[in-house]
Amino acid sequence: MKSLLKTLSRMPLAISLCLIVTALTVKAQDAKIQMAHLDHLASRANETVDVNIDERLIQLAAKIFNDKDEDEAQIKKLVVGLKGIYVKSFEFDNDNEYSAADIDSIRSQLREPAWSRLVNVTSKREGNVEVYISLGGPQINGLVVISAESKELTVVNIVGPVDLEKLAKLEGNLGIPELGIKPAKQKKEEQ
């Protein structure tokens, strides 16, 4: 009986801990967006790229970067903290193969206050490039880039602590395309 009471007295703490852990997990997962809505574009696209690298695989990939090489060491440092890299990219023969609704299916998940759009972002790519960050306290816990050109649509979702400067270094690695995004003043734009 005593042990039962003891167990019961500990329950609230255990439940609280569970709730905190769950909340933290959910928070981290919040930065992962759903991109499956875009899959139908594959039938119209010339080229389709779909990358899904979860935390476990990222940690593995991090091991391959050479600490002795300055660039690789930097990439490794960035990659170690990440929880996921997800990319969908479609290249089309003709204009207007994707619709505003396709982009809205992504944008609708990137609403304030969880997400903020960064303005004054420049990219070597033509068309419209939108960058969104998800803030978990003082730290960024996710980033989404939507690059919408007339014949190309790319969405990159990085889950974990990353910013634009870091993204630039990750481009061309682990399935992240060359977006040519230059870090600018990180102003927030009201949606």
Binding site: A42, A45, E47, V49, A61, I64
Partner: protein, 181 residues
């Protein structure tokens, strides 16, 4: 009473079929993928063509990924390969991709998938943990050829494959062909 018995039998059959399909999915996905390609594209897999063997012997089996050192990726004796040579792979690749993903999603993680309608090329890399190592299934389909490779990789070599999945996939295919000799 008869109804109860027949319901019981139905449930037992359903459970058995679920267990069998789950075991099948986990145990022999390589053959499932090969069969799926055969059924979807109405093609037949075959042995390794002599010319391919000869050509690869000259080139060498090892992979050079992103300018890195030349090395083998797969653990010794772990590779399975099925090839399809000079057959027509006409069909809706979006449907194929959908079928492939839905059959693999329970036990494998889709790592990288690239599809080119222009070249008629499809590349799929699936991965799952296997003890302290990893199993990968690489599917490559071109307009006239295809290959399915399954191999066990060390974490380090999986990381290498992830760095350049396309080259890594080709390297595994080469290794598999030479291992079949």
């Amino acid at each position: 009473m008869r109804r109860k018995v027949s319901t019981g039998i139905s449930i037992a059959l359903l459970l058995t079929s679920l267990c069998v399909s789950a075991a099948h999915a986990k145990g022999d996905d390589f053959n499932s993928v090969v069969r799926m390609i055969e059924q979807f594209y109405n093609v037949k897999h075959e042995g390794i063509p002599f010319l391919a063997k000869a050509g690869l012997k000259v080139v060498g089996a090892a992979a050079r990924i992103k300018g890195g050192e030349v090395r083998r990726l797969a653990e010794a004796g772990s590779i399975k390969i099925a090839t399809f040579e000079d057959q027509a792979f006409d069909g809706d690749f979006t449907e194929f991709r959908k079928s492939l993903n839905s059959s693999m999603v329970q036990t494998w993680s889709p790592l990288v998938q690239t599809v080119s309608a222009t070249d008629g090329e499809q590349n799929y890399v699936f991965v799952r943990e296997k003890g302290d190592k990893f199993s990968v299934i690489v599917v490559n389909i071109s307009p006239r050829d295809a290959a399915v490779v399954q191999a066990t990789l060390s974490p380090k070599n999986l990381a290498l494959l992830m760095k350049d999945p396309e080259e890594g996939g080709k390297a595994l295919r080469q290794e598999a062909i030479i291992d079949q000799e």
